[in-house]
């Protein structure tokens, strides 16, 4: 059957990864109709939702893990995949199991998770530190201490792009690393505004305020331009998810030699488990429905997981597959995953609306030097307090 799949994976590596799905799907004698829309979720989501509301949905579409699709499920617009999940034994193979929880509403499963991405990384340029005559830091604390020296050497200690999600994301990473898992869960999962005002988080806000100073002097918009500054050794480090590794790889850099990576900022060895999942809108045509289920099963099949995640640079959602050749950093990630040093992705706790508010707040703070850490802390707690 012809299945139209919508997604916003259009960059080189991403498109490559999608191609793996498509190849596998075509190999089963079906047709993959590719509906790629670049510009990220904000551009693609209105199109997907419009198509669903308009009654002419694609056969499958990509959303991030989390609560983005909750309403669609509640409105009964998405296909129930529980029978596929049971047949394939997803409950046993998906690791961490929280990924499946995010797909589950009232005990029914509505999505097929395909990969794991984690935000909890800091990437450092070894050459930059060498040039400045410094040792490469191994923790955030060391990084913060060495930052002034780096600045004196004419380098930007911390590369940060201009978009709000990058700044809020980096804050999330620092919160988990510096305030610890307990406080982080209390804020994100339990929406406890008091924790935000507590001592653990106060430390995070102060560190974040310091980080703002570390990023002076580099004005870039896109995250990969910030990564490029680390690759070119003009910046010391960047806090960014594991997808940044693709950029290092493309530039021909080698983990450990040219760059270092610190999961959990080197403070707390823990990863969050975000990622992408596919959803399947309900269709009238039983043939298509069958195809949708077939596709869902295929997405989680071991071979497809390996080929897809190798191309995308993400981790597979099944614990029972081996990625062929992995570098030092990926191995660190896999180890943490295997050891269960993981928390769910922040987005699976917070509604998109809340995230969008936090994005705005953090980017405002980042770009308003006059705004103090205490002020932003206060506003942060307000947003958490009003979050659903």
């Amino acid at each position: 059957v012809d299945l139209e799949v919508m997604h916003w994976w259009t960059s080189g590596g991403e498109a490559n990864a999608v191609a793996k799905f498509a190849e596998a799907w075509t190999a089963t004698g079906n047709t993959w109709v590719d509906g790629a829309i670049a510009g990220g979720g904000d551009t693609a989501r209105p199109v997907m939702v419009s198509r669903i509301i308009g009654g002419d949905p694609p056969a499958a579409f990509q959303f991030n893990h989390g609560r983005q699709a909750e309403e669609l499920i509640e409105a009964g617009l998405l296909l129930d995949l529980t029978d596929v999940a049971e047949a394939e034994g997803w409950a046993d193979i998906v690791n961490p199991s929280s990924l499946l929880d995010a797909c589950t509403v009232d005990g029914r499963i509505y999505c097929a998770p395909v990969n794991i991405h984690s935000w909890q990384w800091m990437w450092l340029s070894n050459a930059a530190y060498e040039n400045a005559g410094l040792a490469v830091p191994t923790t955030w604390t060391e990084f913060a201490e060495s930052a002034p020296a780096l600045q004196e050497a004419g380098l930007t200690p911390l590369a940060m792009g201009g978009q709000s999600w990058q700044q809020n994301g980096a804050f999330g990473v620092m919160a988990l690393a510096l305030a610890g898992e307990e406080a982080w869960l209390s804020v994100n999962r339990d929406k406890n505004a008091e924790t935000v005002m507590g001592p653990e988080y106060t430390r995070v806000f102060e560190a974040f305020g310091a980080a703002r100073e570390f990023s002076d002097g580099l004005n870039v918009q896109d995250w990969n331009q910030a990564t490029a500054a680390v690759i070119n050794d003009t910046a010391g480090a960047q806090i960014m998810g594991d997808w940044a590794q693709g950029e290092f790889a493309m530039a021909g850099e080698v983990a450990g030699e040219d760059y270092s990576c610190l999961p959990g900022l080197g403070e707390v060895a823990i990863l969050d488990t975000g990622g992408d999942a596919f959803y399947f809108p309900k269709q009238d045509d039983p043939e298509i429905e069958a195809g949708q289920k077939e596709l869902a099963a295929m997405l989680l099949s071991p071979e497809v997981q390996v080929s897809f995640n190798s191309a995308k640079g993400s981790l597979p959602v099944r614990g029972d597959v081996d990625l062929t050749s992995v570098n030092e950093c990926t191995q660190k990630g896999l180890d943490l995953l295997a050891n269960g040093n993981i928390v769910p992705n922040g987005e699976s706790f917070l509604a998109p609306d809340t995230i969008s508010q936090l994005n705005d707040l953090m980017t405002e703070f980042w770009n308003t030097p006059a705004m103090t850490a205490a002020e932003v802390q206060e506003q942060y707690s307000d947003i958490i307090a009003s979050a659903e």
């Binding site: 080189g12 498109a15 590719d34 509906g35 829309i37 551009t43 308009g54 002419d56």
Partner: protein, 314 residues
Amino acid sequence: MADVGILAATKAAEQPVAALLDGPRGPKPVRRFSRSNIIIYGTLFVVALYYALPLYVMIVTSLKGMPEIRVGNIFAPPLEVTFQPWVKAWQEACTGINCDGLSRGFWNSFQILIPSVILSVAIASVNGYALSMWKFRGSEVFFTLLMIGAFIPYQVMLYPIVIMLREAGLYGSLTGLVLVHVAFGMPINTLLFRNYFASIPEELFKAARVDGAGFWAIFFRIMLPMSLPIFVVALIIQVTGIWNDFLFGVTFTSSPERYPMTVQLNNIVNSVQGVKEYNVNMAATLLTGLVPLVIYFASGKLFVRGIAAGAVKG
């Protein structure tokens, strides 16, 4: 007595030397570089530079290779002219897994453009004609409503329109998309046509009515043949708007195979890849802008004339 003047005249004619002596004659000598000329042409030139610069940058960049772009400055002409970016933009750039560049959407854009432009210009011209010559009670109210519609951002209307089209059973069809373009092009075009027809002498209309021509006969036989300039204006505005549209094209098309060219452009330009391929971006941009640009340059003076009739009066 009459002869005195003639006499004086003959005298003057007989004394060309004397005439030469008594000061300036003929046109005031113009200094080519008079102050006002320097100011006028200087200003125009500088401003023209500001307007032409981006086009220049686009063209120059689209002809450079990536290495040259990285080292050189954006205004420098290409050391080595390469058409590779154009080729890539046209038929190699990837959209998701389809790597056939803009060419994929080019004909789709035409398929959307042609019916949309024809229909919207046709409807807007009839609207303008009715509004200026066949007013009826309430016609101005509807027109005012329509004009307020010109101020509504498209994005705001997205969901209501999706729902309307769904209810009409047109969602996802070309007809639906064309209707959306027609609706959103209607305010400004109706305004232009209305003003244009209002500037046509009323007596012409009356004469035709006495001659027994009805609503449509007057429109087709009398008004249409004299409205070329305003049609050119409407055509340009609509072609530009519809060709450049991204949101409607992507939202109201049911299959990726039928996406307009702007979707590919968006994908090429907005895909976050290692380094932005500026040369390909620019080539794609130029290729996409080509159709409106060609139509605009081809129309030349008619555009200004149409504007004069459609925007100034009324």
